[in-house]
């Protein structure tokens, strides 16, 4: 991918790989540069980023007291 040639369609096609940090450094930079000058793609990227943050937050739940006790019993702590 080249920064000057990449289209919005290509950016959207690779957006999740970009957000997942799965692209190589050069392609990561190409999309970074595109997002700096394309408000539509930037809006889409921000939307997906924010949704990911909300999804990631569901991975934290208060552990039940019973589980904490089980762990204490297991580890003798």
């Amino acid at each position: 991918m080249k920064a000057s040639q990449i289209s919005c369609e290509e950016v959207i096609d690779h957006l999740f790989e970009y957000l997942d940090r799965e692209l190589d450094e050069q392609n990561q930079q190409v999309i970074d540069d595109h997002l700096k000058r394309c408000f539509d793609c930037f809006s889409r990227a921000e939307f997906e980023r924010r949704l990911r943050q909300r999804i990631a937050a569901t991975g934290v739940e208060a552990a039940p007291t019973r589980l904490k006790q089980r762990i204490r019993d297991l580890t003798g702590q």
Binding site: F16, D20, R21, E22, D40, S43, R44, F47, E48, R50, L51, R52, R54, I55, A56, A57, T58, G59, V60, E61, A62, A63, P64, R66, L67, K68, R70, I71, L74, T75
Partner: protein, 188 residues
């Protein structure tokens, strides 16, 4: 502890099973503590053991249920290509509001958890490992013993299905279009 339990809960969808997975993972980790070469890597090490423990549980459960021990992908409709942003974004409203940002802000934690839990196992597990745990595609491929391309395709479908489910929930809750102001929901 809350992150271990939360991740286990998203993976198993069952509070009792999540407790068992965490307890077994911690027990395994405790027994193998001398294998931890750097205390700074404790978090990653613990979560790796948690994921392996979950996969063992999951496979044993599959055997008990006499189903094939595989992560074969169920049939899905074109929901896999669904984009929540495309359904919400209204460029002409740019200067008076951003419906897509409002939508995300008004989603409740339970809406998201419910939508994730509703995903079939192959999709949910990959989504949790990538989006909640932050693993790379190769790491997930290694954990699940599948090709990296399979991780990518499952992840794409998981995201499409999840976004479609959130869209439906949003419609039911009045979060889409002009109805959103009637929902009475507040931003987290």
């Amino acid at each position: 502890m809350d992150r271990l339990y939360g991740t286990a809960l998203r993976l198993t969808r069952n509070p009792d099973e999540a407790e068992d997975v965490v307890a077994e993972a911690v027990s395994n980790a405790w027994r193998r503590l001398e294998q931890l070469d750097d205390p700074n890597h404790l978090d990653g090490w613990l979560f790796r053991i948690l994921h392996n423990t979950f996969i063992d549980h999951w496979r044993r459960k599959q055997c008990r249920q006499e189903k094939e021990v595989s992560l074969d992908e169920p049939e899905t409709s074109d929901a896999a290509a669904f984009s929540l942003f495309a359904h919400l974004h209204q460029p002409f409203l740019l200067w008076i509001g951003q419906p897509e940002a409002d939508f995300i802000n008004q989603l409740l934690e339970q809406d998201l958890a419910q939508a994730i839990d509703a995903l079939a196992d192959p999709y949910r597990i990959v989504l949790v490992l990538v989006e909640i745990q932050g693993h790379s595609y190769d790491e997930v491929a290694h954990i699940l013993d599948v090709p990296s391309g399979t991780v990518r395709s499952r992840l794409n479908r998981a995201r499409g299905l999840l976004q479609k489910s959130l869209w439906r929930q949003g419609q039911d809750a009045g979060l889409t279009g002009h109805a959103k102001s009637k929902s009475g929901r507040v931003s987290p």
